[in-house]
């Protein structure tokens, strides 16, 4: 079996609006278990599981948990990053719309383990349906005392509030997100200190992705070691993949790490819609690399993706068939970053603007060798000197096409539009 349904196992079996369905399927049992455990033992179980963050950066989950648990400050926050703005990603929406209690249970477990006092879900403003479902879900959880005061008689108080984004991709970056919850423009801060030290309202803050929190109950249920047996050495567990583009069956698929990208596209996605040849695939979203068809035997694995120096970890696969022009795609990506740059630092603000102009010259087939040189230099400078991940990863698609589709650039230079 190619698929491995762990986080998506209940989906389509339960009514997401029914807490009774969730309870009957074993829901909130792991919160009960957690409350009976030593706090440190919960974090140790996560450590054994080798869980890494699912929001893109693949940071080991237990290190952040431990970081906060060790802080002296008693006001602490748990924040769920549900901003999912990276083009091509929709797996967090899928989880929130279809099994919302799973993520809430994960958040409360994390809060209990770190003695957090308050939780927030930062939900992108476009996710209207998820917003209604989550509001309902939080109310239901409160009624059953899985949230609120003295949760299940444990003496532990914790509640969660939803905060909406307002159409800004960069607010998915953790410090921009913090600024946004505080009611400010989403402009990042310089690190360190990290959010686990000085986060929301200046207090220690645990920020994890929707899918990361959704894994916590499963780790407690299976035990960390059994969880670590799923997937590969460097990447344990399963990954939710958002499959889109020129593919017959787009959608969310849950696979164990280590599965070849080709299998996801062909066996789960049914290949291209009309049997056309695949030309290239973008991994992770707009900030991920574009790889040619012959590299599709690459497996889904954080360490493999690290070679691209990008945050491919969110798990999007965007399939493009032979009709698609490399530069048309780069132009869309360029427009996205130019629009979404927060403007705080020059390499990203000015760089994205210039990069877009250069790419447009290639779209119009009016580019010179000098333009190619400028693209290369500018991309490198942006990658190395931008303040946050947005500017650093904006040129990733360019780097990868310069590497794998260089002949397309050369062709434009040698055969300009007259």
């Amino acid at each position: 079996m190619l698929e491995h349904k762990l986080l998506t196992e209940r989906i389509d079996r339960i009514n997401p609006l029914s807490i009774d369905d969730y309870l009957q399927a074993g829901g909130y049992e792991m919160l009960k278990k957690a409350i009976g455990m030593e706090r440190i033992a919960i974090i140790e179980e996560i450590e054994k599981s080798k869980l890494r963050g699912r929001g893109g950066a693949a940071f080991p989950a237990h290190i952040k948990l431990m970081g906060i648990a060790k802080e002296e400050e008693t006001v602490r926050y748990v924040v769920c990053n549900a901003d999912e703005g990276e083009p091509g990603n929709f797996k967090d929406r899928y989880l929130m719309e279809h099994d919302p209690h799973q993520m809430i249970e994960g958040m409360v477990i994390a809060a209990y383990a770190t003695r957090a006092t308050k939780g927030y879900i930062y939900l992108r403003g476009e996710y209207d349906t998820a917003h209604s479902i989550l509001s309902w879900t939080l109310d239901e959880a409160r009624k059953h005392n899985y949230l609120g005061e003295n949760i299940l008689g444990s003496g532990f108080d914790f509640d969660i509030e939803i905060r909406s984004g307002a159409g800004s991709y960069v607010c998915g970056e953790e410090f921009a997100l913090i600024e946004s919850i505080e009611g400010k423009p989403g402009r990042t801060r310089v690190k360190p200190p990290f959010p686990t030290q000085v986060g929301l309202y200046g207090k220690p803050t645990l920020i994890n992705n929707v899918e990361t929190f959704s894994n916590f109950p499963h780790i407690l249920r299976m035990g960390g070691e059994a969880f670590a047996d799923i997937g590969t050495d460097s990447s344990s567990g399963t990954k939710l993949v958002s499959l889109s583009g020129n593919v017959a069956n787009p959608g969310v698929y849950e696979v164990p790490f280590g599965v070849p990208i080709r299998d996801v596209i062909e066996k789960l996605g049914g290949g291209t819609a009309d049997g056309r040849k695949i030309k290239m695939v973008q991994l992770g979203g707009a900030s991920g690399p574009i790889i040619p068809e012959y590299m599709l035997d690459l497996t889904i694995d954080f360490d493999r993706f690290e070679n691209f120096d990008s945050k491919t970890g969110a798990g999007a696969i965007i399939v493009m068939d032979e009709r698609v022009d490399v530069f048309d795609v780069l132009k869309r990506i360029g427009e996205f970053f130019e629009h979404e740059s927060c403007g705080k630092c020059t390499p990203c603000r000015e760089g994205n603007l210039q990069l877009l102009k250069l790419v447009e010259r290639f779209v119009e087939r009016r580019a010179s060798e000098k333009d190619l040189l400028n693209i290369e230099t500018l991309s490198r400078v942006m990658h190395q000197t931008s303040l946050c991940g947005l500017g650093q990863s904006a040129p990733t698609a360019i780097f990868s096409t310069l590497q794998y589709f260089r002949d397309h650039y050369i062709d434009v230079i040698e055969h300009p539009q007259s």
Partner: protein, 151 residues
């Protein structure tokens, strides 16, 4: 209307974005004007320039009057791959305005948006707080006539 919304939120500056979202959603011409900015700033105890900075930073907010219905057309790669520019062309033709403009009867404003997170149903658009997916020319026509009839 603004006063009613303000009453529902604590007088804390971190509710600024929530207040702006709620107000703009309820207001027929979908924008936040100068007087309202002053009132919101006063109520939450922040400076007017701070409210301005938030409004100008976030794509959702507008300081110019817009149509009753905001139509956002997704322009990112997965939608583009499934559509080219058909959705945009069709809507511009149906409404007789370009992206960025409002129809004369103030019913519709056409805008671009980054990925709506519905790429599995590409191409996608969002109208006010509802997302429509797997669009075709016929489907777009039906959607627009529904909004014309209802409002």
């Amino acid at each position: 209307m603004l006063e009613n919304i303000l009453k529902e939120y604590p007088r804390q500056e971190d509710y600024l974005i929530e207040v702006l979202l709620e107000y703009q959603k309820q207001k027929a011409d979908r924008h936040i004007g100068e007087d309202e900015i002053r009132r919101i700033a006063e109520h939450l105890g922040v400076t007017e320039s701070k409210v301005w900075s938030v409004i100008t930073f976030y794509t959702f907010f507008s300081t110019r009057p817009r149509g009753e219905n905001i139509i956002q057309i997704c322009k990112d790669v997965p939608c583009y791959l499934n559509d080219g520019n058909t959705v945009q062309r069709t809507l511009e033709q149906l409404l007789g305005v370009q992206v960025g403009d409002t129809t004369k009867n103030q019913k519709f404003t056409l805008e671009h948006t980054s990925c709506l997170g519905h790429c599995d149903g590409a191409p996608a658009i969002r109208i006010n707080d509802k997302t429509y997916t797997n669009l075709s020319v016929d489907k777009l026509k039906a959607i627009i006539s529904e909004y014309r009839g209802n409002t």
